[in-house]
Amino acid sequence: MLRKLLKHEVKATGRTFLPLYGALLILTIFTKVAMTIGAPDFFSDNVTTGPIAEIILGIAFTLYFVLVVALCVMTLVVIIQRFYKNLFTDEGYLMFTLPVKTWEMVFSKLVVGLMWSVVCGLMLAISGFILSLGSFSMLEVSQAISAGYADFYAQFGMSLNVILFELFLGMLVGGVASILMIYVSIAIGQLFNQHRIIAAFGAYIVITIVMQIIASVIMVVVPLANLEAYMEGIEAMNAIQWLINGTTICNVILCVLFYFGTQYIMQKHLNLE
């Protein structure tokens, strides 16, 4: 059933995102063409553009900027809206009477939400890559990257890949935690008989405050132990790794709390309008 839930979730969300991604690609190519024709030396220091090219490029860049912002906002909006509207408004009457487990519903929404966030990032990267084509040589870039790796190894005695992997993992877990925090807030909000959306916002703010307080306490207690090491400089990278992985572990704990909180409320205290 999980596979079917995922399939229908992708179907329900894809109709919003695919046209946006299509528009982004078209606009990227249009902008790139306009740049190539109107301002061939755009990335050099002395740009010379004609007035018409300038106007067209201006419009293209503005549209591009608006679309990029719209994509990021829509990703967040869809993550929130699919969880709230599909589960806790009238549509919930259908979803909660399907022969599926509660965790499958939460999980399918989480996975698809995360997927669109990653796709959004990828699309922006691809678009940026297309726009900057011709401004650099692949050879130089790859040389710079391998030089970076070598420098890093020389300085810290470890591969840059380790840090990059830890950063990636941290971002992934952080992303999951932020989505689950939205979910648990919505689940708390629906416990109220009125003003559910306001209650959900309230829950989100309260959770944020509580987390801030706990984080400050941890910040006061924990780094003091490593501060000495940090000051010595040699172990600086160790301290950074500590910070990254410590945050990841905290986020894992938050994920578990938010996830089971959401599931508990959905199983025991479902309160559809």
Binding site: H8, D90, Y93, T97, V100, Q267, H269, L272
Partner: protein, 231 residues
Amino acid sequence: MTILSAKNLTKNFGKKVALSDVNVEIPRGRIIGLLGPNGSGKSTFIKLATGLLVPTGGEITIDGLAPGIETKAKVSYLSERTYLNGWMRVEDIIAFFEDFYQDFNRIKAENMLLDLNINPGDRLKTMSKGTKEKVQLILVMSRQAELYLLDEPIGGVDPAARDYILNTIINNYKENASVVISTHLIADIEQVLDDIIFISKGEITLTSTVDEIREKYNKSVDGLFREVFKC
């Protein structure tokens, strides 16, 4: 053989008591009217049976099981809300039902859509409220479920379609399945009912067969209802 059983079933919303100590057994192979005025607890009872609500006290079982994934596969539920996403076409929602309910019969659904002149390619948001209700009822009755829980199935549809819908209900359920219909439009559905449950202020005040009512009170169910629940 009991398909649905409630023992000391109680549901409170905060301090408000919606159902209080309800005991009822619903056998297989019957069409049961769950009858009561607005706010008497009809929908609450049905929602407890579907698992949309969790009891405050007592228990409710379907085929011996507490509401859960197994019972949801056996229960076909028509909510009083229109729960279909507006952006979907009728054919999309049919595919959805087919995917999630193994007992869904696509051919049945398509035939009923044809009978009621509903185009499978139409989007739900372009439909009137009555048409949406018809689509929902078609979906629910196209399942070969063991228990149908129909919450106000005919409230929003015109009298001509009501007859078709009632016929659909009678003709579409398996022999050992039961249908629970909650409504206050008793005169319209009286002809199809086998049994009735009167519910008032969260308590069951009468359970009886329709024949018994006609013999004992010499009244139609509608007549008795009007007398019992007179304001």
